[in-house]
């Protein structure tokens, strides 16, 4: 699967948070298996969508991929470099190539910093320009690129609206000329009217700067517009990956089917005819994930085998991977 066109390659990535007790001598009493062995790759210029319910580990996966949380196991190769195992200067070098945009436009900007400081921070860290003045100039350019007036450079985040803030966040992500950006639910906190603007901006930037995105979202509707391929996560593992159209037209995993059934269809007739699969029960605790197929307690079509045997991760048709016993 790996070739020169592959920008990001994730192999068996795991992120377990320990649950500890005790004060000075801490004992580990359990782990939260937030991400429990996921593998995928992203091609240059491609947008991979990653969807799943809240708490399925998709945000953790995105953050662990960039080394924001120390990974428990696995590797992430970005543009040929292993981001998780690099240290010091090497790590800094890779960090330049990979950036992240966050969900909450209010929490993701330091309230004590001006826009200028925020946007030029990556340039300072990576020593991209010789002087502060040059960095400011570049920051102005970036603001222009994301559709903000350059003279807002010395303002503070609290003077902006949510959408404007998200644009600042995007400008910051672009500041280090990255190849790859993790978009961590960048639009879910925004008004619907703004959402489209931001998505359009992201698409425009992708074209201009030939960026590669991992687009994390909790529902499938918005992802459809921007993604080339989509991965579906459930309880720390990926259950299905396919090209966008393939996934939407031919979802194989019962969980994907359930998610898709929740997406409203613009055509009223089709919408009325839409068969909705309602999932019953809560998402199980990631401290104690179910045995076998993790989806089996909530799966409407589960069979006996699903309880005990972990389904194989298979490519059922070209570029369409799925983990389910019922899929042939």
């Amino acid at each position: 699967m790996s070739d020169s066109n592959t920008l990001v390659e994730v192999k068996n990535l795991k992120k377990h948070f320990p649950v500890t007790r005790g004060i000075i001598l801490q004992r580990k009493v359990g782990v939260v298996r937030a991400v429990d062995g996921i593998s995928f790759s992203i091609q240059r210029g491609e947008t991979l969508g990653m969807v799943g319910e809240s708490g399925c580990g998709k945000t953790t996966a995105g953050r662990t991929m960039l080394g924001l949380y120390p990974a428990t196991d696995g590797s992430v190769i970005i543009d040929g470099d292993d981001i998780l195992h690099a240290r010091g200067k090497d790590q800094l070098k890779i960090r330049r190539k990979a950036q992240i945009i966050f969900q909450d436009p209010y929490a993701s900007l330091n309230p004590r910093w001006t826009v200028n400081s925020i946007v030029s921070e990556p340039m300072r860290v990576h020593k991209l320009f010789a002087t502060e003045k040059e960095r400011s100039e570049r920051a102005k350019d970036l603001l222009g690129m994301v559709g903000l007036s350059p003279h807002l450079l010395n303002r503070f985040p609290h003077e902006f609206s949510g959408g404007q803030r998200q644009r600042i966040g995007i400008a910051r992500a672009l500041a280090s000329d990255p190849l790859f950006i993790v978009c961590d639910e960048p639009i879910s906190a925004l008004d619907v009217s703004i959402q489209a603007q931001v998505v359009n901006l992201l698409e425009k930037l992708q074209d201009q700067l030939s960026l590669t995105y991992l687009f994390v979202a909790h529902d499938l509707s918005m992802v459809r517009h921007i993604c080339d391929r989509v991965a579906v996560m459930y309880l720390g593992v990926i259950v299905e990956i396919a090209e966008q159209n393939e996934l939407y037209e031919n979802p194989l995993h019962p969980y994907t089917q359930a998610l898709l059934s929740a997406v409203p269809v613009p055509d009223p007739r089709k919408e009325r005819a839409r068969k909705r699969t309602i999932l019953v029960g809560d998402v199980p605790s990631p401290i104690n994930p179910p045995s076998g197929c993790r989806f089996h307690p909530r799966c409407p079509v589960a069979i006996e085998k699903c309880k005990d045997i972990v389904p194989e991760w298979r490519e059922v048709s070209p570029q369409h991977w799925v983990a389910c016993h019922l899929v042939n």
Binding site: I23, I24, Q26, R63, L66, L68, Q91, L92, R95, R96, A98, Q99, I100, F102, Q103, D104, A107, S108, L109, N110, P111, R112, W113, T114, I118, E121, P122, V125, H126, H151, N154, R155, F156, E159, G169, R172, S176
Partner: protein, 314 residues
């Protein structure tokens, strides 16, 4: 106070220049706090008194004694009177004020540095570091401060040589007092800072900085610390008042700054036996302590309101 409602031209300016930094906002709110403003003026006057007074009298004069001139009531020659060995009380309150304010400020700097470092390390790194540092903090908090002060004052007592700072020679006991007040008062601040760090470090802007590759020390000092500045400033301001009072307490217990170096605290202490016979002995240092502590408390109160991040009004 008229500038609460911006004029039209100001509104126009607003469109071009950035309106208000958080500091300006704080200052605007602080200015509305009359008590705080009053406290600020008093404190500035006290500083002018203690440090400007040095141009009026030399330190040698403050220590100049003449036992035949003892316990003189205030007069033209000695505006505040003289003490039990005939030293001029005005000159001693000036030089004593320098020491008292110096003790207040420097011990709080020590307290703040300790509190920030310990709170920041515990809050940012968490885990074992947090556990160890917080156990130490709790251990210190479990013992009444005055007990700690006494034990530490005796522990360090007399072991520190005198040092010279900015032309003044400070007796070792000044350094001791500063260190022990600083070392016994950082715990609350450390807890405040830790709590702030714990909540702030989960913020996405910290993750963004880490994604960029910003180092831990830069994240601590440039990203998180500026956001904890408000509670730190409020807490430290109030600590200055507490430090000046603490100095007076240890002086009363005979463990404070040793004479002939004057402080308001030890001047007040030695005046206790002249409550009725020579009231000027306690009136002036007592008044100065009162004014200092009072004004600092007012300022701290005003700052608390002004820097409250929840408050969005001007």
């Amino acid at each position: 106070m008229n500038n609460q409602t911006p004029t039209l031209s100001e509104l126009a300016d607003d469109l071009i220049t950035p309106p208000l930094t958080l500091w300006q906002l704080g200052w605007l709110r602080f200015r509305r706090h009359k008590m705080a403003l009053f406290g600020g003026v008093i404190l500035i006057l006290l500083f002018i008194f203690a440090f400007g007074g040095a141009f009026l009298y030399t330190e040698k004069y403050a220590n100049f004694n003449d036992t035949s001139q003892r316990l003189l009531a205030p007069s033209a020659e000695h505006p505040f009177g003289t003490d039990s060995i005939g030293r001029d009380i005005l000159a001693r309150t000036i030089y004593g004020g320098q020491i008292s304010l110096f003790i207040g400020l420097v011990s709080v700097i020590i307290e703040t540095i300790l509190g920030i470092i310990i709170g920041a390390l515990a809050g940012y790194y968490g885990g074992v570091i947090d556990a160890i540092l917080m156990r130490i903090t709790e251990a210190m908090l479990n013992i009444p401060t005055i007990f700690l002060l006494i034990v530490m004052a005796k522990f360090f007592g007399g072991n520190v040589p005198e040092i010279e700072i900015a032309g003044r020679v400070f007796s070792g006991s000044v350094i001791v007092i500063i260190v022990i007040i600083g070392a016994t008062s950082w715990m609350y601040l450390a807890r405040i800072v830790r709590a702030e760090f714990l909540s702030l470090k989960e913020n996405e802007f910290i993750l963004a900085a880490r994604a960029t590759g910003t180092s831990n020390s830069q994240i601590i000092f440039y990203h998180i610390l500026p956001n904890t500045v408000a509670p730190i400033i409020v807490s430290s301001t109030l600590s200055v008042a507490n430090a000046i009072l603490a100095e007076a307490y240890i002086s009363f217990l005979g463990l404070g700054v040793m004479p002939p170096t004057a402080t308001w605290g030890n001047m007040l202490e030695s005046s206790a036996k002249y409550l009725d016979s020579a009231p000027w002995l306690w009136f002036f240092p007592g008044m100065l302590i009162l004014l200092t502590v009072l004004s600092i408390n007012f300022i701290g109160d005003g700052m608390r309101d002004a820097l409250d991040p929840r408050s969005r009004t001007i």
